[in-house]
């Protein structure tokens, strides 16, 4: 491989700087003129906060940095600052997110815009600091907007977009940018950092539905009759679901200013004439694009559907591209134990299970998945489809180069069975067949 930085596919509008994904988020925070940051260290999030602190120390960013004693306090303090009228940011991973979980609900229910980066990492035990989407996925129910970056450029762009969208009066909800731990967070890629004046044009001064300050004689969050509470939740759902429109609008404007198009909630690679899709989210979808090219060389017309946004769920886009396909292979880097990967659950319902669908959990706990693994998964799924005519498999777990069919569905024979290093391959999941 050549050592030179590959030429980016996007337009360079500012300075092209090689940086880690976490640095990209920090640069976005600076460009967004964030005024308050509170955070608690957790791997692999730490670089974001270190970089922001460095920027503040060097006078590049004029913000208050609060070094709190826990993630619970990190989000609570960020919320306190946001409700007090300033643009506020925090970042976390894994257990940090789990620890602040109740505060996520509080922020969203208050309708106060806050932006948070989640550097995706497995949740223990056992301890594991590597990438997985379990942490990002548990935020789906909380009323936050949730996006997941594919690369470092997107980590920067989505962070800036997130401030604009969450502070839009049609939305007024907090938002999350997920980026894969280590694969993006600690890996250097060239990133176009747009000039400050471009972002100033794109991102108006902070707007929020109300500010907490002296003289404003209100209570936020006291008891509410149940029927009114439900209406409050209906409004949250409506605002979040219809934030798609605001995202597209902001994405189009961002494209005009930077040449990078975010006007869709999904990205589809070679989808239009595809018979089969590989769907998923996060950095491995870049590998999925290479896998699509490889599969097409073998005569299998694959496309790659990447969810850039998890919430709002890109219902229209997913259905438009997916409903008429023969097969959709859904990659999940997390599992809802006892059922299936979260994206399988979500995408198969949006697609009304019309195409054949295979859910493939893989890469859990940071297990490396390359484009050749993904191509192999695609190939095997097509083979199963051709063998059976139609398939609907929630869990066909891909592990160390092989497959393991697991409940809840009935067993499916695969050409290449997974070899297990620690569990008894004969006894696990075989009961249904006996």
């Amino acid at each position: 491989m050549a050592n030179s930085i590959p030429k980016p596919q996007w337009q360079v509008t500012g300075q092209l700087i090689p940086m880690r994904g976490n640095d990209a988020v920090a640069y976005a925070v600076k460009l967004a003129r964030v005024e308050f940051v509170a955070a608690y260290p957790i791997t692999p999030q730490t670089i974001i906060v270190e970089k922001i602190d460095e920027m503040i120390s060097h006078g590049e960013l004029e913000a208050d940095m609060m070094h709190v004693e826990s993630e619970h306090s990190a989000l609570a303090a960020t919320y306190g600052a946001a409700i007090g009228g300033v643009r506020a940011f925090t970042a976390t991973s894994s257990h940090g997110l789990a620890y602040m979980y109740e505060v996520l609900w509080w922020v969203a229910g208050s309708r106060i815009p806050v932006v948070m980066a989640i550097v995706a990492r497995a949740i223990g035990p056992p301890w594991n600091i590597h990438v997985e989407h379990s942490d990002v996925m548990v935020t789906r129910e909380t009323g936050w907007l949730v996006s997941v970056a594919e690369n470092n450029q997107e980590a920067l762009d989505l962070t800036i977009l997130m401030f604009r969208v969450t502070e839009d009066p049609r939305v007024y909800l907090p938002g999350i940018i997920g980026l894969d731990g280590f694969i993006l967070s600690h890996t250097v890629e060239p990133v176009d950092v747009p000039p400050q004046e471009v972002i100033d044009e794109f991102l108006p001064p902070r707007r929020q539905p109300y500010v907490f300050e002296p003289g404003r004689l209100v209570a936020m969050g006291n008891l509410m009759p149940d029927e009114i509470f439900e209406e409050h939740r209906i409004d949250m759902h409506y605002s979040l679901a219809s934030a798609s429109r605001v995202i597209k609008e902001a994405g189009r404007e961002y494209a005009k200013l930077t040449g990078r198009d975010y006007s869709n909630l999904t990205e589809c690679y070679r989808c239009s004439d595809a018979d089969y899709l590989i769907a998923g989210t996060g950095s491995w979808m870049g590998d999925a694009k290479i896998a699509v090219d490889l599969l097409r060389e073998k005569g299998l017309k694959f496309g790659a559907l990447r969810l850039r946004w998890i919430r709002p769920f890109p219902w229209d886009e997913v259905r438009e591209v997916g409903l008429n396909k023969k097969l959709v292979v859904i990659l999940d880097r997390s599992i809802s134990f006892g059922y299936a990967g979260q994206l399988f659950i979500e995408l198969s319902s949006a697609l009304e299970a019309k195409p054949s669908i295979v859910g493939v959990p893989a890469g859990i706990g940071g297990l490396d998945i390359s484009y050749s693994d993904i191509a192999y998964i695609g190939e095997e799924a097509v083979r199963l489809l051709e063998e059976k005519g139609r398939i609907y498999i929630p869990v066909l777990w891909y592990h160390l180069g092989g497959f393991k069919s697991l409940p809840p569905s009935r067993q499916i024979e695969t050409t290449r069975r997974a070899q297990f290093l620690s569990i008894d391959i004969e006894s696990i999941g075989e009961d249904e067949n006996r």
């Binding site: 309708r111 539905p209 109300y210 004689l217 209100v218 209570a219 936020m220 209406e231």
Partner: protein
């Protein structure tokens, strides 16, 4: 509700988002005077206008007004919201306040 328009302004923003905000207003738990089984009653001639009953009232239902026999300030109790806890009676240093049953005839109460 007479104040419903101002409430709407506070809890719904310009885009029609429904915000979980409640303005400070009397009666957030209703007419709490109905909770009472006994009521505090003042003997105005004994009152020394010391304000202690006002200072301690947990429901803020006492206002000091110049309605005493000599034009001095005496506590006037808002019975619509007074819960009848009796703290005012307990803290009164001159026994100018006493509790009477809600079942006593109304004439006694001045």
């Amino acid at each position: 509700m007479s104040s419903s328009t101002t409430e709407r302004k506070l809890v719904v923003d310009r885009r029609g988002h429904f915000l979980p905000l409640s303005p400070s207003e009397v009666g957030s738990a209703g007419k709490t005077g109905s909770w009472r089984t006994e009521r505090p009653v003042l003997s105005p001639e004994k009152c020394t206008s010391c304000y202690l009953c006002w200072l301690y009232c947990p429901d803020d239902v006492i206002t000091m007004e110049p309605r005493g026999p000599e034009g001095n300030e005496i506590p006037v109790i808002d019975y619509e919201y007074c819960k009848g806890c009796g703290i005012c009676v307990d803290v009164c240093p001159v026994n100018a306040l006493s509790m009477i049953s809600e079942e006593e005839p109304i004439e006694i109460q001045r």
